[in-house]
């Protein structure tokens, strides 16, 4: 119990009951991939804090965490929607200088207080929201995964998009990506249980995007975030390449679809590069069922075959003209 003369009990003392996250993925809207140095500059979203980065095996830069204040409802399936107040943690991840992700997540603390506290109380504990009404953790997990949108609800996807939009305005980004792409959203939720082994299930949501539902101790959360970002990246890559192939089949200029797709994305697939070891089994299980890498490779082959066919035809066309 907080005494009146003592600082208010910080929510940090309360462990989260659930952790919720959304990863939004799309192509950075620029014609050429950003070199790593430029990416580091671009992702320096806070003054004085450098972006994290690595060069191998795939170049990647990660922005510092940004925090967004929220006062919203949390989706549920059975119970009433609790009101939650606090801050959401979000970051931008740029892979191969071209694939951009907005990754937002929040720890949800239950039963800490039953009334709205002054803002300073919430600001003291970043990346956490506190629900001021009763809620069942498992219900929050299901509600979050099954309710993509709704007015007044926690909108992690929207926050991820906001972080991504910060990159639209920088000078290195020319706004002329040569490829049509569809942004994708991966939702994930962890029911926090200390001392248990990670249990996880990946399912396809109503929009076809993967969703990850997990039970895990809180110490694993950073690795779970990394896993979900990797999963989102690769599901997006596959969808983007297939979309380009599909569009090439009906475009008057099929080369204009296939060429950028291959040069932008062809070299990016490497799901195990930064996969945390504790969670590698989940990727393997997924590969076993969904065969994502096989599908990627066969799609790349189809794109290459089609490109070389088109190139050959184009060359034959010119030769033919010269001959005439």
């Amino acid at each position: 119990m907080a005494r009146s003369d003592a600082p208010l009990d910080s929510p940090a003392k309360h462990p989260p009951a659930v952790v919720l996250g959304v990863v939004t993925t799309d192509l950075l809207n620029t014609s050429e991939p950003l070199p790593l140095e430029a990416a580091q500059q671009a992702l320096k979203l806070l003054p004085g804090v450098a972006a994290d980065s690595h060069r191998h095996p795939v170049e990647q830069a990660v922005s510092p965490d940004l925090f967004y204040g929220v006062d919203c409802r949390l989706a549920t399936i059975r119970g009433a929607q609790p009101r939650a107040i606090g801050t959401v943690r979000a970051r931008a991840v740029l892979t191969a200088g071209h694939v951009l992700q907005g990754s937002a997540r929040v720890d949800v603390v239950l039963d800490a207080s039953t009334r709205r506290m002054p803002w300073s109380y919430y600001a003291a504990c970043t990346g956490t929201v506190e629900a001021i009404n009763k809620a069942d953790p498992a219900d929050l997990v299901s509600g979050f995964l099954k309710t993509p949108n709704g007015s007044g609800l926690l909108d992690l996807g929207g926050i991820g998009t906001q972080v991504m939009a910060l990159l639209d305005d920088i000078p290195q980004v020319d706004g002329r990506a040569d490829m049509r792409t569809v942004a994708s959203r991966l939702r994930w939720a962890v029911l926090v249980r200390e001392g248990v082994d990670l249990d996880a299930e990946v399912v396809a949501g109503s929009d076809g995007a993967f969703q990850v539902r997990m039970t895990a101790p809180s110490e694993l959360v950073p690795r779970i975030v990394a896993f979900c970002e990797i999963l989102a990246l690769h599901q997006w890559l596959l969808a983007a390449l297939k979309n380009a192939f599909d569009r090439a089949g009906r475009s008057p200029k099929p080369m204009d679809e296939l060429d950028p797709a291959l040069s932008y994305l062809g070299h990016v697939w490497n799901p195990t590069a930064h996969l945390p070891t504790e969670i590698a089994w989940l990727w393997e299980a997924l590969e076993h069922d969904a065969q994502l890498t096989w599908e990627w490779e066969s799609t790349v082959t189809r794109v290459r075959d089609k490109l070389s066919l088109l190139t050959r035809k184009a060359i034959e066309g010119t030769l033919h003209k010269e001959f005439l």
Partner: protein, 309 residues
Amino acid sequence: MLIFASSDKGGTGRSVTSCNLAYRLSLLGRDVAYLDFDFGSPTAGAIFEIPKMERGTPDGGLHSYILGEATEPARVDVRKMTERTSLQERPPGSGKLTLFPGDFGGAEFHLTDNHIKAAMKLFHDVEREFDVCIVDLSAGRSSALDISLNAISPRVRKKKQDKDKDRIRWLLFHRWTTQHVIAAGGLLFGDKGIVPYAMEVGFKRADFMRLVRTVRTAVPDTSAFGEKTTAEQTLWVTRSDDHLKALAKGRSLGQDLLAGTTPLEPMLLWREQVIMDLDVNRRLAKPATAQAFDKLATKVDDDEAWEGI
């Protein structure tokens, strides 16, 4: 490409023609988005025959998006959601057809910088995903129209420096009668018209006029008189047409500005809908109607045909 659909009067056929244009463009293989910016009366859901969306969506439509109440606008895959079975099929070689519905019970609102920013973001996002985005504006000089003009003004689209690649079309729909021609001219060129406002937000007049074309809708021919027409009627129709052509030309809405003409289609007199080739094959719709929509789609899609009329 962004295509704006405007008209002075209500009931000109702006929405029905635009939906048919969207459908035909998707048949040509383009990925098409239809943005219902007729905030007061969004009807695209009804035209595409999407249940529970006849008058917009109950949650998070474009109206809420522009107001900043929804971070992502609702969207519907028309082929997945339409009640019309023949429309559900995606013919080989055709592209996506996605509706961004308006809100049920939406209304017009004031013009603010935030609304313009939201529209800019929306256009930016849909253009990255779709080949063609058709924006159905409300009739007259509405706030939807003002927001749109601000959002496409050269002042704010600076990142697309390559002017030739910035594909924007502005369609003005009007019926083929004296009053409609006069009204359409007024909306485009009048003191409070589209062109003066476009110039106010930063367009050069000539640049904006390069974007503008008209569509004459539901144009009748002598058959409107009945199966057999008298020589007098035929002559009268020719004269009236000539008179209208002269009127249109006098109001700078002549042939050089014309993108297409749709014939009076009996099916559309009963029901606002997509006219499919199937309807022609079943001998319900006039072949000329399907052809007119197709021709308009082809023209809009082809830069040279569009420019060099």
